[in-house]
């Protein structure tokens, strides 16, 4: 699903690489936590998977494709097979919940009939059935994140990338979100989640990858968050 071979990333005008010689593999159906302090390279790691950046050295394979060889115009095609969730939800404030979810389908040219069918379905799945016509601003943070997850999942991606999805939420709400991500994972979707949330990582007991100053320092099946920070 994801393979990094000796990947390094140096941003222009910076001497210290954001990632150094990282090699790892994530199999289909896995649930992976990506941990590490701020500036450890987590975001760069995720940006490389989404091909918002290209690596400086090494090779990144996502969904069986070598991203360095993927031409620019094929990138959208690749991204359609990924779902993304962010700490700040990234919902469109002037569109309703239903429209926000439908946006992901309109953009890839799904028919109106399909959209009308799948939007309520996926909103039910994330526990927001019947809130289609609400505006994002009227919802709580947890609910907004559920909308974002619904949008990420509505096209049934093979891989879900989550960048600190619980970073803005209280512990109880976070648990709800994690249950949802776990359920999505059980449908066969691979989940890679960057997080600072110690409790969640410790409770879930999933694979943990730790980055420190751009290096891969730990890759542990059924791991815990690690050192006290």
């Amino acid at each position: 699903m994801i393979r990094f071979d000796n990947v390094s990333k140096v941003y222009p005008k910076q001497t210290r690489p954001a990632l150094r010689d990282v090699s790892l593999e994530v199999e289909k159906g896995e649930f992976v936590f990506l941990v590490g302090s701020s500036g450890s390279g987590k975001s760069t790691f995720l940006r490389l998977i989404l091909r918002e950046e290209r690596c400086s050295h090494g090779q990144v394979h996502v969904l069986g494709k070598d991203l360095a060889r993927l031409s620019n115009w094929k990138v959208p095609q690749m991204r359609r097979q990924l779902g993304t969730v962010f700490q700040d939800f990234r919902l469109l404030p002037n569109k309703t919940v239903g429209e926000n979810v439908a946006f992901a389908q309109e953009v890839i040219g799904k028919s109106r009939g399909e959209i009308r069918k799948s939007v309520p379905q996926v909103l039910d799945l994330v526990g927001l059935g019947g809130k289609e016509d609400r505006m994002p601003g009227e919802l709580s943070g947890g609910e907004q994140q559920r909308v974002a997850i619904a949008r990420a999942f509505v096209n049934r991606p093979k891989l879900l990338i989550a960048d600190e999805p619980t970073g803005n939420l209280d512990p109880q709400t976070s648990v709800g979100i994690m249950k949802l991500l776990d359920r999505i994972n059980r449908t066969g979707t691979t989940v890679v989640m960057a997080t600072h949330d110690q409790n969640i990582v410790d409770q879930m007991r999933k694979r943990v990858i730790e980055l420190e100053k751009g290096r891969l320092v730990r890759d542990q099946a059924r791991g815990v968050y690690g050192y006290q920070h």
């Binding site: 989404l50 620019n72 115009w73 959208p76 095609q77 690749m78 991204r79 359609r80 097979q81 990924l82 993304t84 990234r90 469109l92 946006f103 992901a104 309109e106 953009v107 890839i108 040219g109 109106r112 949008r151 096209n155």
Partner: protein, 305 residues
């Protein structure tokens, strides 16, 4: 891609930048109106030049029968064949002359018809009212005076005209206006393009959240850019339509009504509606494509896909 979705995005975008959109429309309209005006002015000059203007420098008009009655220069009667031969022979001997062409009454009638077409004056004319003439191309156009002294006042010659001298001042004026119009047009065009680039930049910036999300869910580059490009194209097209309307109204009020030059200057042949109408498609196409291209190149810089 669904048309309705794209159209609604365009509407939202144009309304969000209403003042900027307005500025784009006005500048495109002005620059293209000037563009069309300059094209029409060239047309007008060409219409006025007639058949001989670019081909000869001096014309020797010969007396015809009606001149013999009315014109003191022709008091000795219409030109005879001998006189014509003599004139031709003298012209051929002169060094300054490059080429001489004889124009018969019938040819003169034909050229006149071509230039003035169906005007009332033209329809009342008959070929024998036209003058025969020698049309002379000089090696050095400044040497007009040589011909004038040699032939002016000779029997059978009604007048010697420096063809360019008469019209050059007027054409000089028209040409000057034309260049001024083009200069202002170029300036307005630059303004319009800069406004479009800026509008697109503001538009791309104010929608960076949407476009960012579109990228994440895998929208193609074209899909993300299309609303911006079409916004610019729509604004441009509105401007182009205004420019077209302006040209039509301008022709109506300057030539037919209002200023009514066609009545006041009925010896001048003015451009017709067809001249205006044939320019409109060009103006509309320019108004559509130019902003779209400007937006396209602006997006490459300001909208990461």
């Amino acid at each position: 891609m669904r048309a309705q979705f794209v159209l609604s995005e365009i509407g939202v975008g144009l309304r969000r930048n209403l003042t900027m959109t307005f500025a784009v429309i006005v500048s495109v309209a002005l620059s293209l109106a000037l563009f069309g005006g300059s094209l029409l002015m060239s047309d007008q000059v060409n219409t006025m030049k007639g058949y001989w203007y670019d081909k000869v420098n001096v014309s020797i008009f010969l007396c015809n029968k009606s001149d013999a009655e009315s014109d003191p220069n022709c008091a000795k009667g219409a030109v005879t064949d001998d006189q014509k031969k003599q004139i031709k022979a003298d012209l051929d001997k002169m060094d300054v002359v490059q080429k001489v062409t004889y124009e018969s009454q019938d040819q003169a009638y034909k050229h006149y018809k071509e230039q003035f077409g169906d005007s009332p004056l033209a329809s009342s004319l008959t070929p024998d009212q036209m003058q025969e003439s020698y049309r002379i191309k000089l090696k050095d156009p400044q040497k007009y005076q040589v011909i004038a002294t040699a032939f002016d006042g000779r029997d059978g010659v009604q007048s010697v005209q420096d063809q360019k001298g008469i019209l050059d001042n007027l054409f000089g004026l028209l040409n000057g206006m034309n260049w001024a119009a083009r200069a202002v047009m170029a300036l307005m065009l630059v303004v319009a393009l800069m406004l479009i680039v800026n509008t697109v930049r503001v538009s791309a910036f104010s929608r960076r959240r949407e476009t960012g999300i579109m990228r994440l869910v895998g929208a193609s580059g074209f899909y993300i850019q299309a609303p911006f490009i079409m916004e610019a194209a729509v604004a441009g097209l509105i401007g182009g339509t205004l420019a077209c309307a302006f040209l039509l109204i301008a022709r109506y009020f300057i030539i037919d009504h209002g200023l009514a030059l066609s009545e006041k200057l009925n010896l001048i042949n003015f451009i017709g509606w067809d001249a205006v109408l044939t320019k409109l498609p060009l103006i509309l196409a320019t108004s559509l494509l130019m902003p779209a291209l400007a937006a396209f190149f602006a997006l490459r810089k300001y909208l990461k896909v």
